[in-house]
């Protein structure tokens, strides 16, 4: 039981980093990316390859995974600079589909559909951190660092610039905001962070394959952000806990056959999303209208 909860908490922390990084794009900059799972995957594959062929150091792998994802994120930033709104959603959707295909076909880099297996146990600066509890502490520390980093970004002029773009691009431009630079920078930062999360996932699972980085994963991350509360620091975390605790909780309800849990889960997600968008469109943590 403890092992199960530690595993769940570790996954929640990893997805907390991923959802928080997506929140930077969606919640603060108004960039609705459907390709976030792609960069999650890039981080995971880079981390896995580094661990398999060079060194199984989590810190190094996370930095490398984040850096490669950040560089590749320029593929997303370029359409982000050219198109807006629903056109960008479509462009990022295309990129995600393309990435899923590439992940499945480039055997030499990703292991193809079979993925990369046998990722060695993680170390950090030469110390063994393979114990699940120790790894949970490491991942939680990265999550806290991520939240502090995002919080400090958002409280400053960079955050105000992003939110200004989100609320009115033309007005932001009229007040001297360089939309291209700000959007490029936030996409690079967001993708770096999700690349870090991907590397952490690779070590946690000791296995990565394309199934973890499909469009479904992008949709799940987006749901975590929106349900929790886009544009809030803690909203994505609440979304992660809500969406990940639900399947875990359902598995304890013995009257639901294990083969039907998926169906019940989808039903609950659908109803919850609909009710939430009607009664609390700003998410569980988001601020509703009216003076306070």
């Amino acid at each position: 039981m403890i092992a199960y909860l530690v595993n769940l908490a570790t996954l929640m922390a990893i997805f907390g980093i991923a959802a928080s990084s997506l929140n930077l794009l969606i919640g603060y900059a108004g960039i609705f990316s459907m390709a976030h799972a792609m960069f999650f995957g890039v981080g995971a594959y880079v981390g896995a390859q580094l661990a398999l062929h060079v060194v199984a150091d989590v810190g190094l792998a996370a930095l490398a995974g984040g850096a490669v994802a950040a560089v590749l994120s320029l593929c997303l930033a370029l359409p982000a600079l050219r198109v807006r709104g629903e056109y960008f959603v479509a462009a990022s959707l295309g990129l995600q589909m393309l990435a899923s295909t590439i992940f499945g076909e480039t055997h030499i880099l990703t292991g193809g559909v079979g993925g990369l297996t046998g990722i060695p146990a993680p170390t950090l600066l030469g110390y063994d951190i393979s114990s699940p509890v120790v790894y949970l502490l490491v991942v939680t520390s990265v999550l806290i660092l991520t939240l502090v980093f995002i919080h400090s970004l958002i409280r400053g002029s960079f955050g105000r610039g992003l939110m200004a773009i989100r609320d009115s691009e033309s007005a932001a431009e009229a007040f001297g905001k360089d939309i291209r630079s700000l959007k490029t920078l936030v996409v690079v930062i967001g993708c770096f962070l999700v690349g870090v999360a991907g590397s952490l996932l690779a070590f946690h699972m000791a296995f990565v394959n394309v199934e973890s980085f499909t469009l479904d994963q992008s949709v799940l991350m987006m749901a975590m952000v929106i349900i929790g509360g886009a544009g809030t620091i803690y909203g994505p975390l609440v979304g992660v806990v809500t969406l990940m605790a639900l399947p875990a909780g359902l598995s304890f309800l013995t009257f639901i056959p294990s083969t039907e849990i998926g169906t019940v889960q989808q039903f609950i997600y659908g109803v919850a999303m609909t009710l939430l968008m009607i009664f609390r469109p700003s998410g569980l943590v988001g601020q509703s209208r009216g003076r306070r």
Binding site: R160, A172, A174
Partner: protein, 250 residues
């Protein structure tokens, strides 16, 4: 008006498909003067603003700021040269607080930080607080823009511009729909700005406000400038007034 104009628009034209939104319009804005753009709906007034600020590029013609050509320049670059504008539909940063709206308007650095160090930061904060004080928004500084009343949003739109310290303001229907008391306060702030040397061009449908504020009026109709002169001359021209109230000449 022998002084060189601060902003000069020469023979600017812009069409959208078959619609000639602005045709061969020239205009000069001089320091400390308030120029009103008057004319019926669809005259091309807002398009002219967009052409000056870079939100729309002209098909032909020149726009220059202190003699420097700015036509076709990106809006953020034009803004950094000292041109601030408001929008007819305000375009406030709705989910940001009143203070952050004004702060965001004065922070033009593109990267993770602003230039100028602590002194620059202190200067920006002081300008923001001053703008909030004079517009009466200081008590509402922590309220989100989306939660403000109509009149308050109008003042927030002005506070953003005021805080920038820009020497040229383009105001698009800034006082429309304000009650008499708010309108008087608004007019006082705009007039004080002009007296301090700010060059202002405003679009306004309320002729009382135009009469109270404007030093000059440029009258536009169907994308063309029909006349320019002192308010008493323009508003005393029966033909222009007939056009303004929809009695079209052919």
């Amino acid at each position: 008006m022998t002084q060189a104009p601060l902003l000069s628009v020469r023979n600017v034209s812009r069409s959208f498909g078959g619609l000639n939104a602005v045709q061969d319009v020239s205009l000069e804005l001089h320091q400390g003067l308030i120029t009103a753009l008057a004319g019926p709906n669809g005259a091309g007034k807002t398009t002219l603003f967009n052409l000056v600020t870079g939100h729309v590029a002209p098909d032909r013609g020149e726009v220059s700021l202190r003699g420097r050509p700015i036509a076709g320049m990106k809006p953020h670059r034009v803004a950094r040269l000292g041109l601030a504008r408001s929008f007819q539909d305000l375009r406030l940063f709705g989910h940001m607080t009143v203070r952050d709206n004004v702060l965001a308007a004065v922070e033009t650095g593109a990267w993770l930080w602003q230039f100028g160090g602590r002194a620059g930061q202190r200067d920006r904060r002081e300008r923001v607080e001053h703008a909030l004080d004079v517009t009466g928004l200081a008590p509402l500084a922590e309220i989100r823009a989306v939660d403000l009343s109509y009149a308050e949003t109008k003042f927030l739109s002005l506070a953003r511009i005021l805080a920038t310290g820009a020497p040229i303001w383009l105001l698009d229907e800034p006082a429309s729909g304000l009650d008499p008391s708010s309108r008087a306060h608004f007019i006082k702030l705009v007039r004080e700005a002009a007296q301090s040397g700010v060059t202002i061009c405003l679009i306004e449908h309320n002729l009382d406000i135009v009469t109270e504020l404007a030093d000059r009026i440029a009258f536009l109709d169907r994308g063309r400038k029909l006349a320019e002169g002192l308010p008493k001359d323009i508003l005393g021209d029966a033909e222009l007034i007939a056009i303004y109230f929809g009695e079209r000449r052919e």
